[in-house]
């Protein structure tokens, strides 16, 4: 009975999905519940901020710089058609602060730090270090998982802000130093168009949400990895793929709520 088996396959998939969502939710609740433990031993989180945040600094600032420079070069092509090259500052700043800063920084963070978190936790599971902790009555979620989660949440908005700032600096270099746009118009129009609450604060909120999503996915994939070499490698791949898709989907939803129908 092929129909019966194919319907059965659909049912099994649905049940598995619901089970995974439930497991993920319970896992996240468990991580959040151990928050007091994390903040009472903050040096653990600090160490993870070092690995997740400080090590991402170089890639984030260099990418930001180049994204800003390319934005300015490409923007010049189009803006010069309308004789509006003075609006370059607005173009660069708004694209970076609202969208590119949070999104690209989060994508880079997911591949640079998220994958590392997954691999680390996954390998700890494979080598039964997590089990050993449980044997010693140490909660592995509070000791290993939660500090990494919070380190990601803390690092993400800072990295996104650094990305945007470097991007605007790169845009400034190209627009003012290379193309020769008047620096007064560049900064002045930017300041007139970028609103602190509406643009910058919303960008920071976006990056915090991305930080939560990427870190939760990364630590979950590590914790739920199959304790084999293939399992860890598959989990690392899943972290990058799932969190990239999650970032883009969440970004769309947030943008709809933040910037819908507000003119500029």
């Amino acid at each position: 009975m092929p129909i019966r088996t194919s319907i059965g396959a659909v049912g099994e998939k649905a049940a598995n999905t619901v089970e995974r969502i439930g497991y993920f939710s319970r896992f996240v609740v468990g991580v959040l519940r151990s928050t007091p433990a994390v903040f009472s031993r903050f040096s653990l989180t600090l160490r993870e901020v070092y690995f997740a945040g400080v090590f991402s600094l170089v890639i984030i600032s260099v990418s930001g710089l180049f994204v800003g420079m390319v934005l300015a070069l490409q923007g010049y092509e189009t803006l010069s058609i309308f004789g509006a090259t003075e609006s370059m500052g607005v173009l660069v700043a708004l694209s970076l602060v609202r969208e590119l800063g949070p999104v690209v920084a989060a994508l880079l963070f997911a591949s640079r730090a998220g994958s590392a978190m997954t691999a680390e936790i996954g390998l700890m599971k494979t080598t039964e270090q997590l089990k050993a902790m449980e044997m010693m009555a140490v909660d592995p979620i509070a000791r290993v998982v939660a500090p990494r989660f919070w380190a990601g949440v803390i690092s993400m908005p800072l990295l996104a802000a650094i990305f945007s700032a470097m991007g605007i600096f790169g845009g400034y270099l190209v627009a003012v130093k290379l193309i020769g746009i008047d620096p007064g118009a560049f900064w002045g129009q930017m300041q007139a168009a970028v609103d602190v609450r509406h643009d910058i604060l919303n960008g920071v909120i976006k990056s915090i949400v991305f930080g939560i999503a990427v870190s939760a996915i990364a630590v979950y994939q590590g914790y739920a990895a199959k304790p084999t070499a293939e399992g860890v490698s598959a989990a690392t791949t899943r972290t990058v793929v799932t969190s990239s898709l999650a970032i883009l989907a969440i970004d769309f939803i947030l943008t709809v709520f933040m910037f819908r129908g507000t003119g500029l």
Binding site: S43, L46, R47, V49, Y50, G53, V54, L57, F82, G83, A84, A93, V97, S155, P157, L158, L159, A161, I162, S164, A165, M166, I168, W187, M190, Q191, A192, V194, D195, V196, D199, I200, G203, V204, G263
Partner: protein, 175 residues
């Protein structure tokens, strides 16, 4: 990894991040304008405000002296009502003319104030009586076309020869 150096680099990272946020807020955004002096508020009624938006600058002789705070429509007279905040260090006479100009053809619009000769100064809650609406390019062009058509298209009037009096007649200073 030595704990002291970890702390140091995390400190550097956090300070860099905060500096970036401060840079975005102060240099890129306009947080500075939040600290703008309170000033006093006056309203001006316009037949048409064109593309004027809230937060647009109010200038006198090209110097920013205030900001447009709110724009509304008077439901009875169907005039646009713009509430304007003027910084406290600037005083304008009661017969000041408020006009809407645009900076360049495609540029943003702003309110220009031209002080008159009155001895009484504007104060909180006053209404600027003399206003001049935004120039609408479409109206200007259609006016020009009609005037060309009424000439019968015989004399080829160059653009510069359009009677200058017609232009203020379109959106003239209203009493």
């Amino acid at each position: 990894m030595n704990r002291n150096s970890t702390n140091f680099w995390v400190g550097v990272f956090v300070l860099l991040g905060l500096a970036a946020i401060a840079f975005l807020a102060l240099r890129v955004g306009n947080l500075m304008t939040w600290g703008e002096p309170a000033g006093y508020h006056v309203t001006a009624r316009f037949d048409n405000i064109g593309n004027l938006k809230p937060r647009a600058p109010v200038k006198s002789a090209g110097v920013v002296v205030g900001r447009v705070e709110k724009i509304g429509l008077d439901p009875k007279s169907f005039e646009a009502v713009a509430q304007i905040k003027i910084f406290p260090q600037f005083e304008f006479t009661k017969d000041t003319i408020a006009a809407i100009y645009s900076s360049g053809l495609l540029g943003e619009q702003f309110v220009g104030l031209d002080a008159g000769g009155d001895t009484v100064m504007l104060k909180e809650g006053d209404v600027i009586k003399k206003t001049q609406s935004a120039v609408q390019l479409e109206k200007l062009i259609s006016q020009f076309m009609f005037s060309k058509a009424s000439e019968g298209g015989t004399a080829q009037t160059p653009v510069a020869a359009v009677p200058a009096a017609q232009i203020p007649a379109i959106e003239g200073v209203k009493k």
